[in-house]
Amino acid sequence: MADATLQHDTVQHGVPGAYEAPLFGAYSKKVGMWLFLASDSLTFGALLFAFSYNRLYTIPWPTPFHAESIANATIMTACLLSSSLTMVMAVFAAQRGDRAWTRNWLLATMVFGTAFIVLHGMEWSKLIGEGLTIPGFPKPPSAATGELADISKNVPQFPATFFGLTAMHMLHVTIGVIYLGVVAFRKWFLPILGVLWIAGYLLIPADNVFHYGIHALLLGLIVAAVILYLKPKDYDAHDVEVSGLYWHFVDLVWMFIFPLVYLMSTKIQ
């Protein structure tokens, strides 16, 4: 550290070669986010490969998704794709310095993201209620029997890979909504998040898995509060663009989950 300090003190500004040009020609936050996304893509890649492995290895593979599930997942896909468009508009607005429209477009992106989470949560609750579960999930009495309960018993790799993959993605979407909320509203987003957490915990029945999953919002609240305490800054166009990279990545991952998980397990009657 002492050496670094000494070298820093002797830098002469304006002298060619004093600062090395960035390798990728981009600012450090953007490069950092890209490197994180590259590593995160391997996490999702491993989960998608595990799902596909089981899909090919298990004969016959369960096909529990009826037309209603496919329609629901299609609407969820449209929500995420539309949220990416509103995110691009937010970046445009941030670059021209329009703070009001930056906030509006970020809010629109958060609304689409929240719609995705809610629809996905309803889908999960319906499947669990019909018996598609993994050990440790709270489940209502209706989950004891039926086609999906048989699948959970005889092909446990199906619910394990399905819930593992989609839960990981849902967590990323939730983190993304919180991230955008912090960028758009800064400290004013924290009480909103707190109210959503308490309301969700009180309103969701105790035999629903999201009664416990809603605590992800509390963790997000704590992390966001620490970040805002350490860096209580006004987020600029760079921050909006970097948050957009994360959001588009979440959208990108779903482009693989939707066909592989839902369309490859379709039962149309």
């Binding site: 369960p62 449209a78 794709l81």
Partner: protein, 113 residues
């Protein structure tokens, strides 16, 4: 000099076209899923190709990688794709074992003969 935020030489209309193309490709996937026009392995291949096209549109336009320096584009994409190729050779020769060697399963899901 460090580059600032990605410069948008293209208009907003381009992004609406990309969004429309992504919705269209999603609709194609859903129709293929509904009609079940291919056998599962062929269906998997077709859906993966469509997903790769969609992801290229998202990465190139929405994430602006198309507008970044060539070094950044190649370093990121080559490293990630190389890892996926390695994963493929780890997983799939074994995944096809049942399919290729004809290990039969009874109608009772999960009980092997």
């Amino acid at each position: 000099m460090m580059h600032d935020t990605a410069t948008h030489s293209d208009s907003k209309v381009t992004y609406f076209w990309v969004w429309g193309a992504l919705l269209f490709l999603t609709a194609v996937e859903v129709v293929l899923g509904y009609r079940q026009v291919f056998q599962p392995v062929r269906m998997l291949e077709v859906l993966i190709i469509l997903s790769i096209i969609k992801s290229a549109l998202i990465i190139g336009y929405f994430m602006h990688l198309k507008f970044e320096k060539a070094l950044m584009r190649w370093m990121l994409m080559a490293s990630v794709v190389a890892c996926f190729i390695i994963m493929y050779f780890f997983f799939f020769p074994d995944a096809g074992r049942v399919h290729d060697h004809g290990v039969k399963w009874t109608v009772q899901l999960g009980s092997r003969v």
